[in-house]
Symmetry: D3
């Protein structure tokens, strides 16, 4: 394998990259994660790792490129990530995340990239990425009907009902408290087993959080584990299931939207 | 009724207001809405009207005050409000909404208000309000354990499963496409019937939107009605049901959180 | 009366609004006020109430529309509003007010509105509104000669010398200390008598403030009433006089500027 | 005369300056002007020159220091300076001017300066300087009762009624159209005669501008001279009168406010 | 090797990380790079790769931790990186990079990290990182004498004169045109040989750039290779020399400054 | 000499300035300095004074104009200016300096100036000026190939090797510690001898600063003099040498770049 066969922009040289741009239909995927506590059994980089792995798989199937991840995310909120007060959680404010997304969109589209796709892996990021994209398109004067586009998605929105039923045989507790729970743990067990410490997993009931956000947070409302639902029942097999179904759907949807033919799953 | 019995800050004079502050436990509710197209049967101010009405009802029960609403919201997104390209939709960018929320929190807490509660009625606002609150508390040096607090909620998060089952006998289509649909229309029929033009309502299938956001938007993906799900089946009776249950739950939860005794429902 | 005959955008549905836009010469008036102490006899919302009432009257005569007011204004300054340290005064910083004005101008002009007119009722707002307008036009690339325009005015700049002489028979004390004084009180007595507590009015000499601004303020320099000049001598009759003359002049000037024929005063 | 006797910070060395700071009651005056067209007879730097000269005179009498002027001002507005579209007028936006003022206040107070006084000479600057000062004090945590203060004034607010009557024997046209008129021209004739080209002065009627601001401006509304009122009738004698009265009043007021004894007028 | 022995925060779980924090003297190194064209023989991620590798080596010797890199840098300038107009170069504006650095410093110091060290690998970043650090310390109220500190350095400032003489036997051309030249190429040949395509290296004379910056750039002034000096003469041996000397000096200096004992070079 | 022969914009009237603009090839030079401690023998305004004097000389030779200087610079850094904690040093943050530069570029280019040249005299300013210029050109839509340009330079980059050898016969210590040293002192002795207090000069060894920046600074690392290298050995003769060589080179380079013929040195 040679360097310029990598899907990662970090690994490509500028001349090889410009050949891709010359095709006129280059797609760049940008994984977005966080550096955030994920309990005692998952690493701080979980969200960045997972969004990067999804981006890599989809890029391979679409013939797209993967940019360096945005490795720090918006402040963790208590109801979706335990809260920003927890050590290990290292966050950006809204303006900075908006600024990063805005600059990357402008920079890539100005180079001739046709489609930029943000693959999000940290719940709290979404609206700030959206705003960054919208401001970038206003800066560039790109409106409806343009050949260029920017897509934004969170990978869990591609988990199907069938998969959910298999992964959560006792009923799905809701995306809002899926932080360090069965979904993320299973995916990590499949994709990065060496980075999971299953023996450190602490079981416990799901967090019971109010229907409002309160700031400053009442720290005791976050379980001591830092996880909002138990990861008990996670397995590499569930991870395979989740991963393959999401990659398949993501690749299909992006291919259809961006008029690409997805390649078959690599052997 | 005299002016200073109003729950609305707009109507109070400064001296009457300062008597409330002197109690040390003043609560100010801030409704947040939008000026946004809501189809042919609902007015542009629907989100502001509804959040204001919920705030008024809750304030009456808690002995709280209601500030002027934030009447313009964050950009409408295609998957939750049809999109910001639609005429009638008049929006703020993220920085402005963050700035407004940040200033109001600082201003009220500096005056001696103990709890500020944002009652949100426009889906897209949430994260920007959250950021404004968080920055304000950082500015003020207010951290966990403080006597003061700021709460943030969207009123629909207080609709119970029982209510949902009654309002959507054929199954709830999801909050994401509840824009100009049965919930908002029923509430308006109950609370502001003169502002609803039920004869102009256009029925149609729910919008089928992709699992990603695409910018610039593909305008055709928004139904011509501007509504993401049909309002057919709306009724003032459903509005009463929704309104009373949400007010009850909201008042109970806020009273418990802020150690207030909610008054009985006014006759 | 049906909903779509309202001049208020809040009450119109998107389809009715688009018919107005289709004419090509839609005018939107945006009242701008504040939430600010106005002594013991006027409500906190005085500036927003008055600018909204002027906007409504002018809109009716011009066939224009009225947008939701900007209900929070720039920080009250001691020499024009008593100071921002007074409870009840709830303000925005410059960046936020600039941002709100900038976004509204962009949003309305992008929808096809031809003229946007800010009707200001809070002295301190003016320059920040101006900046917001100027930045919006730069964003949109609209320069001299364009068909579109944005107008900015404070309603008191339309009070004629004749009216002043009648309202202040002992001599006009100057706009700078007209805060909670005869002008605002008389207008409120005419337009919103139920919101004025004339029995709570405290008479007293006009404030004697230095020719400079000092920050932080010396609180004692603001009269205990919070008003910079006495409201004694206010009357609903003076309010009628002020209101009708200003509405007449405003409507005439805007009609001439925007080539509209003002309608006769409604019976 | 030696360098360290200069009132100008630019000319002092750091060690001499620190001796002044050590007294605990150092006052720094900051002139603020603009680079703005002032017709055919006055230089572009008129506002900066005049505010600097007033600052120098007051500093000499108070034993204060004069910082480098803020030589670029906020955008010229048509009703007070002819408009920002005129060549020669070179301006800052609001955020930049706010930022400069905020930084200077913070920097000087952090060094131990006790009072900072902005001497403004360009109408449009005022509110942005005010905002910069207010934000700086918030940053520094300086509130009412502090020993430190920041003052803000425009020098023309210190022109007395008696002086006005002498300078404008036919009646004062109003500060709003005093741009390149008798006041500025007379002051320049007294203070900087070599920089005035009285032979290039073009007489003409005062500008007739509407009571609103319109953007984008209608360029024809600004007289071809760029001046809003005629400078005919200007004289060095009027300049002396204006200058000496304003310096006297300014020095008296600042001395009283900052508890300084003003020195006698230098021979 | 187990996960929690990694020096990379991305790989640690929150509980293991908190044990490090509990020691009171945790050091976090943040590599900063860019995604920038580096000619035809080096990958776009060169700056990020090199700063990360230096951070890793130093962290190992100091018992410090390495945070996720800031993988996008400030705009490439023609005189130091060929210019921001070149495809492959994907950059942040100043405000965004300042914001990211500011947030990371605040986040880490708030968690209890004692020293944060930015290891820069992209020339253009330096001043914006500095500003971000300075603003963060102002936000946190951390001044001289505090136990906490933030250090900022570019790794090439630790290349000794002796090393330079060995690496550039014909004389060092200057850091300003060391972009894709012998230093970066040799380091990459040593550290990441699979990511270097030495066969694609194009030799050529060093760029002759003016002593000023011109914007917009004159594109022809950047050599077609994108490199400002030739990489001819690069070797893995020179890379070893550079790498080991810099790591040694960096570790020694940081250990002395932060009162750590550097460990011996790992076998 | 008459006013309109001045090269200083401050002294020109708008009508004379417009005649220059009408030529189509107007060049405006903007000096940029600081208000910063420069030891006991040089005034706080040294950087602004020197950049202004270079600008004036170059303008005279090129037939260009000189705008008012940016008299406050970015925060002094310990390794290049002793540090921002030293009294006398009065600085802007990055955003403000970026904003000022951005506005000036936009304002001048919009007026029809063809080339704007920033002549920098304070090391720390450079990157923030660069960013302001780049953002302005983006705002204006000016890209490569345009007739307009903006140049940025620090005057010391034009000191030749020959001059250095003459000025520093014992070897040049490096630009990084040339703060209040032989270069600046000699230039001031030549250009502004009355503003130099050579008798107050304190000799001492050059500062030994680490290869990293540390914040907050360790104040003791800055020599008590505030100068980073000794000014001993300064002379007016060295100042003449430096000044004349730099003016010559600057004028030649700018003339060549902007296709101007430099005039001979004035007698």
């Amino acid at each position: 394998m040679t360097m310029d066969k990598s899907v990662f922009l970090e690994d490509m040289d500028a001349f090889a990259y410009r050949e891709v741009l010359a095709s006129g239909d280059a797609i760049v995927l940008i994984p977005v994660g966080s550096l955030e506590q994920h309990g005692s059994h998952l690493p701080l980089g979980t969200d960045t790792i997972l969004s990067s792995r999804f981006a890599e798989a989809v890029a391979t199937r679409l013939g797209a490129l993967v940019a360096q991840p945005i490795a720090y995310g918006y402040k963790s909120q208590q109801k979706s990530g335990g809260g920003n007060h927890l050590s290990g959680t290292t966050s950006l404010d809204g303006a900075s995340l908006i600024g990063v997304a805005r600059n990357l969109v402008k920079s890539f589209l100005n180079q001739g990239v046709r489609h930029v796709v943000f693959i999000n892996g940290h719940f709290e990021n979404y609206q700030f990425l959206y705003e960054g994209i919208d401001l970038a398109l206003e800066d560039l004067g790109i409106g409806s009907g343009a050949q260029q586009s920017v897509l934004l998605l969170s990978y869990w929105d591609f988990v199907s009902q069938d998969t959910l039923a298999l992964v959560y045989p006792d009923g799905f507790p809701g995306w809002d408290i899926e932080h360090g729970g069965v979904l993320e743990t299973s995916l990590m067990l499949h994709l990065e087993p060496a980075r999971v410490a299953l023996d450190r997993l602490v079981d416990g009931p799901a967090a019971m959080l109010p229907r409002f956000d309160r700031l400053p947070v009442v720290p005791e409302r976050t379980p001591a584990t830092g996880c909002l639902s138990s990861a008990a029942g996670s397995s590499a097999n569930k991870g395979i299931l989740l991963y393959e179904q999401v990659v398949e759907d993501l690749a299909q949807d992006l291919a259809a939207e961006l008029t690409r033919k997805p390649a078959g799953v690599p052997a």
